[in-house]
């Protein structure tokens, strides 16, 4: 009998604590599924593109299973279709994938996984999983967001890759269906929330200018890497201005995973470069 009373008390005590996280878990899962499903479905476009570029079904699926970073896969397929040699094509894809190292760098502290888990988690380090995980207020939600986004994306991306490759002939010209717009729309949707401050906007604008100027001149994959130089360039300019006005350390060191602190008084003198209006 005392046991039953104890059970009752614990039952009574139990409901309040899980209640607040339960709603926030649902919100995290909803966001994660939204991103995972939307982007996962664009594996279809990759499957179609890859098959259209002359890769076999097995090669197309191997790319989605093993490389699993959309931009790199598309870059590789594009370069191979254009007749690039395999190593140059792989280099372009690798350069595009290099950004994932920086996502990992930020995710490492936010997710706090043990060393034994990291080799498995690494395969899911992507634009999408990072965007969802880094948007969360605490480690628990970040891990949940990362896992749900990663799992949804991996499963759907591979299934739709298969479907896309199989349906390539059946569908005819995929551009008729506007599927080629999914890629840039996904990138834009991921970028938009990051453009909070002048520094981010200037870096984005400069990157756009760099990629547009170098695109006709440099091999596939390289222009995007050149455009990445916009980030250090903006930081160097910002640092010089900071030295000119203030001697103390900049006030953004307490910033954990938010955007860099707004530079004092530089926004007025340096208008944000907008992206090319489409």
């Amino acid at each position: 009998m005392p046991e039953q009373t104890e059970i009752r008390t614990t039952e009574r005590a139990a409901p309040p604590p899980p209640a607040p996280p339960a709603t926030s878990d649902a919100a995290v899962i909803r966001d994660a599924l939204g991103v995972g499903i939307a982007v996962g479905l664009s594996g279809f476009a990759f499957g179609v593109t890859s098959a259209g570029a002359g890769l076999s079904l097995l090669q197309t699926c191997a790319l989605s299973l093993l490389v699993f970073t959309g931009a790199s896969q598309l870059a590789l397929v594009g370069a191979l279709a254009a007749g690039g040699n395999p190593l140059t094509a792989a280099a372009g894809a690798f350069f595009l994938g290099a950004r994932n190292a920086f996502y990992g760098l930020r995710l490492s502290a936010v997710l706090g996984y043990r060393a034994t888990v990291k080799p498995f988690a690494a395969h899911w380090v992507l634009d999408e999983t990072s965007a969802v995980a880094l948007a969360q207020p605490d480690r628990r939600s970040a891990r949940l967001g990362f896992t749900v986004t990663g799992l949804t994306l991996y499963v759907l991306w591979n299934l739709t890759t298969l479907a896309g490759a199989l349906g390539a002939e059946a569908l005819g010209d995929t551009e008729t269906w506007g599927l080629d717009a999914a890629g840039p729309a996904v990138f834009l949707a991921l970028l938009a929330p990051m453009l909070k401050d002048t520094v981010e906007r200037v870096a984005a604008g400069l990157a756009v200018v760099l990629v547009m100027v170098t695109l006709p001149l440099l091999p596939t994959g390289v222009p995007v890497l050149v455009a990445a130089l916009a980030a250090p360039a903006v930081l160097v300019v910002q640092g010089r201005r900071g030295q000119g006005t203030a001697q103390g350390p900049r006030a953004d060191r307490a910033d954990d995973h938010g955007p860099p602190a707004r530079p004092e008084g530089t926004s007025a003198s340096r208008p944000a470069t907008e992206e090319d209006p489409a």
Binding site: P86, A89, R99, W177, G178, A181, A192, P223
Partner: protein, 102 residues
């Protein structure tokens, strides 16, 4: 065979890069410069990828229905539309403009 070499090199390279970032020593993150660079690099890369995929076929600059689709996606983003809708709008508008333009 060449294609398989490209796939293998890409798979290994892309995995290592992901793992390297995740496994990097925590001390590295405490340097303010690295932290700010890590935050700003994805911004630059995503902006570049968006522009490249919107205004080119990978090698040549061009302006086609895709630009209208991405512009529509931008409007949807400003209106705070959900992710799936943003992508859907881009695809639908692109397909629509192509259908109208013949």
């Amino acid at each position: 065979m060449n294609v398989w070499i490209a796939i293998a090199v890409t798979a290994v390279g892309c995995y290592l890069v992901k793992y390297l970032g995740l496994a990097a020593p925590a001390g590295l993150l405490e340097r303010p410069l690295v932290k700010r660079l890590a935050a700003l690099l994805p911004v630059a890369l995503l902006a570049a990828l968006t522009a490249q995929q919107t205004f080119s076929d990978g090698r040549h600059l061009m302006l086609d229905a895709k630009a209208a689709g991405v512009a529509a996606a931008a409007v949807a983003l400003v209106l705070r539309a959900p992710f799936l809708l943003v992508v859907g709008v881009a695809v639908a508008v692109t397909a629509g403009v192509r259908a109208l333009g013949g």
